[in-house]
């Protein structure tokens, strides 16, 4: 088997003194989409933040294309790993216009989407370029947060709860976008609460609890394991 594009081994992470991740193992092959499922506070956001170096301390192994990233400083990670990160709180800058938000992340590789392609995918963004970033609706902000990492030439997308609190029409646009990104060969790690959004898109699901992977299903095995999964996710 070829090396997976992303491989986490025994990943631990801390915020200050709080030990949040207790040895995450997972992998994602190129062009695949995996989901991280789990209850609130399970450590899914922290897993993405640990990959990006946005925790206070991390140990274990994070490999991208077989290169070790655990000791890389945060600002080197996106360019070296060709990663685009879309944070849970969206991270739209209020002191920047929509256009400036869109152009902020530096290029991390060739083949990023052009503006025309981006506006085709997210038509709502076309006419709001000069507005301040946080003057957008929640859905528009989410599209902007996605759009700005697609511009950079990133090939691995880490997307945290992109459908959270959004209207069904917007969720549908985002679903279409993810589907077309997958077709274009992007590798995607999706943190989702909305299982119906994630299920038809994913190759593999990881269930996280208390900072560990407690179970994993392939997309095919999902139907047979629905009961178990519901149990994991029920509150």
């Amino acid at each position: 088997m070829s090396t997976p594009l992303l491989q986490l081994r025994d990943l631990h992470a801390w915020y200050g003194e709080s030990h949040i991740l207790h040895g995450i193992d997972l992998e994602c092959a190129e062009g695949q989409l995996i989901t991280l499922l789990g209850r609130n506070g399970a450590g899914r956001t922290t897993t993405l933040r640990a990959i990006m170096g946005m925790v206070d301390r991390r140990t274990g192994s994070i490999q991208l294309h077989g290169d070790e990233f655990i000791d890389k400083p945060t600002h080197r990670i996106a360019p070296l790993g060709r990663i685009g990160y879309c944070p849970e709180e969206r991270g739209i800058f209020s002191k920047l216009t929509v256009g400036e938000n869109l152009m902020l992340p530096p290029m991390v590789g060739p083949g990023g989407m052009g503006l025309e392609e981006i506006f085709t995918m997210f038509p709502n963004l076309r006419d709001v370029r000069n507005r301040m970033g946080t003057r957008l609706s929640g859905g528009e902000q989410q599209m902007l947060a996605m759009a700005r990492i697609l511009r950079t030439g990133a090939r691995l997308l880490l997307l945290d709860e992109i459908t959270e609190g959004l209207a069904p029409v917007i969720v549908k646009v985002l679903g279409e976008a993810i589907r077309s990104l997958k077709q274009k060969g992007y590798t995607i790690v999706l943190v989702e609460q909305n299982f119906h959004f994630a299920a038809p898109l994913a190759n593999r699901h990881y269930v996280i609890e208390h900072g560990r992977v407690i179970d994993t299903f392939s997309a095919e095995a999902l139907g047979a394991n629905m009961d178990r999964l519901n149990q994991y996710l029920s509150v």
Binding site: M52, G53, M54, T74, H75, R76, I77, A78, P79, Y85, P87, G91, F93, S94, K95, L96, E100, M103, L104, P105, P106, V108, T152
Partner: protein
């Protein structure tokens, strides 16, 4: 012309002249505060150092190097001094200030305050506490011009125009360019900017250098006008802090507009009741804070 009006205009010009110095200094403070959340107490001392460096370049460096004919003049100083002060600022940030981020702000405040005392000490030792003249004012800027309502020194007119251009340039750089967008994003969410692949630490060092360089630049402009003494920054910095508070901490536009406005106000107040001219800034500060606690241009936090 009505003599009263003439007097007001004349004092207004002098006030404006002070105002542009306030603007250059508060601009640097605002840029630094915006990105680093550090109140740079050394700003006044860096301004003073800029003025002394201009004197050193003109009167001393030649002798020190054994080239007694060498006088590095005003125009060269206008470029060199800000660079020297900026380099000093960057070393200071990189090797001292950096260790205090994330701690109680009182630590960085004490460090910059200490740096101010050290700089003052060095120049008091070298030049004494009384004023040192700057003999290098270029010939083109000697003499006076007739403004219609007053005769105004050419050099002062130059400082006003030059400083306003610098302020507009800095505003444009920060509010309208990509570098500025990265800076503004960095003040808002440095962790995310880092995750996008931008070296925020280096950005902070450069920004601190830029802010201190502006203080150095103001020092060069001040050298031919004001008496250059090791304590010249002290008198000014209190007013500058008041201005930054009035304008709204970290707001570029607020710093510039407030500086010019208060410079003018001081000048005009001088006409009517001279003793109040020195306190009018603080009265304005109290009034503004009563109505808008985050300053004229500040965002409510």
């Amino acid at each position: 012309m009505n003599p009263m009006l003439r007097l007001i205009l004349a004092q207004g010009m002098l006030g404006l002249n002070n105002g542009v110095f306030y603007a250059m200094l508060s601009l640097g403070l605002a840029v630094i505060f915006g990105l680093l959340d550090v109140v740079n107490f050394a700003h006044g001392a860096l301004y003073m150092s800029g003025a002394f460096l201009a004197i050193i370049l003109y009167s001393y460096i030649g002798t020190w190097l054994g080239l007694s004919w060498l006088h590095i003049g005003f125009w060269a100083a206008l470029v060199l001094v800000p660079l020297i002060v900026a380099c000093f600022g960057m070393l200071f940030e990189r090797f001292l200030l950096r260790w205090l981020y994330g701690l109680d702000p009182i630590y960085s405040l004490l460090l910059t305050f200490g740096a101010a005392l050290v700089l003052q000490g060095i120049f008091i030792n070298g030049f004494g506490a009384s004023g040192t003249p700057y003999p290098g004012t270029p010939d083109q800027l000697q003499g006076i011009v007739n403004l219609g309502f007053m005769m105004f020194p050419k050099f002062r007119l130059f400082t006003i125009i030059f400083s306003i251009l610098v302020c507009i340039g800095v505003w444009f750089l920060i509010e309208r360019t990509r570098i500025g967008a990265v800076l503004r994003a960095g003040t808002e969410n440095p962790d995310l900017v880092r995750a996008f692949g931008i070296n925020v630490s280096r950005l902070i060092t450069l920004t601190f250098g830029f802010g201190t360089g502006l203080a150095g630049l103001a020092g060069v402009l001040a050298a031919p006008i004001y008496s250059v003494t090791p304590l010249m920054g002290d008198d000014l910095i209190i007013i500058i802090f008041a201005i930054v508070v009035i304008g709204g901490m970290g707001s570029i536009m607020g710093a510039v507009v407030t500086s010019l406005g208060l410079g003018l106000l001081e000048g005009v107040v001088k006409v009517f009741y001279a003793p109040a001219a020195n306190t009018v800034v603080f009265i304005a500060m109290v009034l503004v804070l009563l109505v808008r606690p985050s300053g004229l241009f500040g965002r409510q936090r």
